[in-house]
């Protein structure tokens, strides 16, 4: 493989709150690849996602990223008073992305004028994923992206992930669901 991997974890260990979550973890994610993190609650899946996003520092080992990353976690990070289209537009302007494309992909067009605070849990999750799609970042870091989504939402997520990988993107997802990543590599944390 000639190009650099989008994400490379090398011998990573992480201690949080005095507890060793994992150590000696190696993970390489190249264009078009996807990794599904599995494991019981509290094992460090979310921490690994945040580590990959650069929000946590590894206790030892190195985390290398080439190119931008987009993060979807439990944080909504949209101004509750603003209509959805404007709230997503704020991030699209920062990223030079396309908020409308993200909303289309997650089926949110009809909700564009609705203030964010009026959205349901599932609609909020869709909005978070729409922001990821809109960034155009090659690496997607998804923490429990299927939570709260209905069957149609899960289908849209799977389709978005497939087309992202087809266009040279990579995905690191932590989930208890398969998310349509059946053939993806699994990394089980224990």
């Amino acid at each position: 493989m000639s190009e650099r991997p989008l994400l490379k974890l090398d011998g990573v260990a992480l201690i949080r709150g005095g507890r060793l979550l994992f150590e000696g973890l190696d993970l390489t994610l190249a264009a078009g690849e996807a990794v599904l993190l599995t494991g019981p609650n509290g094992v460090g899946k979310s921490s690994l996602i945040r580590l990959s996003a650069g929000l946590l520092r590894a206790t030892s080992g190195t985390v290398e990223r080439s190119g931008a990353a987009a993060l979807a976690d439990e944080g909504l990070a949209l101004d509750p008073r603003q209509p959805l289209a404007q709230a997503l537009g704020f991030w699209a302007r920062l990223d030079g992305g396309d908020a409308a494309a993200g909303m289309r992909a997650m089926g949110l067009e009809r909700l564009a004028p609705v203030p964010v605070r009026m959205l349901s849990t599932g609609q909020r999750k869709r909005a978070v994923l729409a922001r990821v799609i809109a960034t155009g970042a090659p690496l997607w870091l998804l923490d429990e992206p299927g939570n709260g989504l209905d069957a149609e939402g899960l289908e849209r997520l799977a389709a978005a992930m497939a087309s992202h990988r087809a266009t040279g993107g990579a995905i690191l997802a932590a989930s208890h669901q398969l998310l349509g990543l059946d053939e993806a590599r699994r990394v089980a944390l224990a």
Binding site: R16, L55, A70, L71, G75, A77, L78, F90, L94
Partner: protein
């Protein structure tokens, strides 16, 4: 960066909080003469200092909504993932906070001075002092807002943290509006204010980063 400052400003204005600091300021100006009596020379002597205390407390009003909601909503994380430094975010908050309360306070100072019967030259010194001192107050508020983000019941704690640090601004600001005050005080006020503005992005940024672990 400009997008971030505009967002801060929009939040401050749309949340209906923009009027709060100047109204609070005017409230003090309206109540103070009732409390000390309508004695014009006494008001002229003490009114400037009272207005400075009002300005300090007005700056403190939005301390709980400056950083904590953004931290809780994951907005600070999303900005960090995009490679936008916490220092830049803190600076944007400082600029947005100052724009939303500094100039309105300077406008409110005109009717406030009338309520206090402050003579014209003292009003001008008050205006210059506010222009020099309010950035420092905004910087202090942002630092403390970042330090207390993630804690519960931060209002009282924030006040306790800010007030001692704000004492130099209060001393030099009040010294400016004393009859016969001025010259030296404005330089010291500007120096304190400048120092706080210079420190704030780094202190608040470090606090926001530390809050992530």
């Amino acid at each position: 960066m400009i997008a971030l400052i505009l967002r801060e400003l929009r939040l401050a204005l749309t949340a209906g909080n923009a009027l709060l600091p100047p109204i609070f300021f005017l409230l003090v100006a309206a109540l103070f003469p009732f409390a000390v009596g309508p004695d014009a020379p006494l008001l002229a002597r003490t009114g400037g200092g009272a207005l400075w205390m009002a300005a300090l407390l007005a700056a403190l009003l939005p301390v709980e909504r400056l950083v904590e909601p953004d931290r809780a909503a994951g907005l600070l994380d999303q900005l960090a993932v995009r490679g936008i430094g916490d220092e830049s975010v803190a600076f944007a908050k400082l600029a947005g906070h100052w724009l939303s309360f500094g100039p309105p306070l300077m406008i409110a100072a005109f009717p406030a001075a009338a309520l206090m019967k402050l003579p014209g030259d003292i009003l001008w010194r008050l205006e210059i002092g506010l222009a020099a001192g309010t950035p420092g107050l905004a910087a202090l508020t942002v630092i403390v807002a970042a330090l207390t983000a993630g804690l519960r019941g931060t209002g009282a704690l924030a006040g306790l943290l800010i007030l001692p640090l704000a004492v130099p601004i209060l001393i030099f600001g009040a010294a400016m509006v004393e009859p016969g005050g001025g010259g030296g005080a404005v330089k010291l006020l500007g120096a304190v204010s400048l120092l706080l503005v210079a420190i704030a992005p780094f202190a608040a940024g470090a606090a926001m980063r530390a809050g992530r672990d």
